[in-house]
Symmetry: C2
Subunit: 206 residues, 2 copies
DNA sequence: TGTATTTTGTACCGATTGGTATGAAATTAT
DNA sequence: ATAATTTCATACCAATCGGTACAAAATACA
């Protein structure tokens, strides 16, 4: 379905559709949805507007496909950190992983999902709602993982999994913003380490 | 200087300039700089475009004046929290104060400065730079306060004031984003409390 | 060789963007 | 009363926004 379906008939497409989508993702990643214009997109993708609309529908659908591409990456922050058995390692992995991934120079800085909520006035309400739904889906994964830890007796008595998940989310958002503003890997690693230390000593049994 | 200077000659201005600026701040607060259009501004301020340009210069200068108004409020988060003597109370006051202020229903949710960096493509570079400078000024206030605490022996040995200030900033940014996305006061208070607990137990002597 | 089909580039669409020219209206100073 | 001065509302500006009509170009099928 999603694989490259050969058109076979008619003039062949003159560009790599997956590569073009990746370029589009990079632009949205840097500028957000509203902050990105069609001309910026077509220039980065190396195609003209009619080609963009024929291949991706419109700006909104292109954005959704780009975000899908972003979220379905195998080396996702969550997928890696969730492989750990002990919740302490999960928390450390998430925070240190965020610091590393948000400052990775091979793509724009920060988290694409978090950056995308920037610059969404009420005109593009569907964009805002969709991104919010994606984010709350990720937050739910955190809640589920921390509830599992609670059931397994890894958390201190007073620790509410929902609150812990919100705190982790807040830290991701802060780390993402600081990365987008130019913070270095070293800086964010220190911040993530201090945050993890505090969270673990108070909320996780040792 | 900044008080209402009567023009005395010519047709008198038909609107309250301070009230209009406050309305402008509210719009920028909600939608960011790029996300706010002149028509939204004039509608909220109850004036027409030529009046806006005559009174405030242009959109950029209006934004700066609105941000000045925001930052010079007497009940600023920092001003209140910095009144505490012990750094532990300062940290608690900052985080709990942020939770309270960012969800205050008498004005838009979140922090106006943090929200304003949303939706700033490279076109409005001066806006981005100015807001960044303001933010780093606030961060410096945190660094200075934590260095004072370090000199007074309130901090644990390994705790770097700069890192602690960055962590606090990250938490502000996260709390602001969650408030803007609709989080309740109760939610953010719990998050702030958990964050403060972790920070204090690890980094502050008791 | 046509013919059907799809992509391509150009040139355009109405709407909105930030910003202004202009003249009438409203006030103080003379 | 008249002149000087300032603000007002209307109507406009070029540039850009997201999106499209159209015909030439490039391929597969007959």
């Amino acid at each position: 379905m999603t694989t490259t379906k050969a058109a076979c008939v008619g003039r062949p497409r003159g560009f790599d559709i997956d590569l073009a989508l990746e370029q589009a993702l990079n632009v949205f990643w840097r500028n957000g949805y509203e902050g990105t214009s069609l001309s910026e997109l077509t220039e980065a993708m190396g195609i003209k507007k009619p080609s963009l609309y024929a291949a991706f529908g419109n700006k909104e659908q292109l954005f959704f496909k780009a975000i899908d591409l972003y979220e379905n990456r195998p080396d996702s922050l969550f997928n890696i950190a969730f492989q750990h058995e002990r919740v302490a390692d999960v928390i450390r992995g998430l925070l240190l992983g965020a610091a590393a991934q948000f400052t990775d120079c091979s793509h724009p800085q920060g988290c694409a999902l978090i950056n995308s909520t920037f610059s969404c006035n009420e005109a593009s309400e569907s964009i805002k709602q969709t991104v919010l739904a994606r984010k709350s889906k990720h937050k739910q994964r955190l809640v589920d993982r921390f509830e599992l830890a609670q059931n397994q007796g890894e958390l201190q008595e007073g620790c509410e999994p929902v609150v812990l998940a919100s705190l982790m989310t807040a830290l991701f958002q802060g780390l993402s913003m600081q990365a987008s503003e130019g913070a270095s890997l070293d800086e964010l690693q220190k911040v993530a380490t201090m945050a993890a230390e505090g969270i673990l000593t108070v909320n996780v049994k040792r």
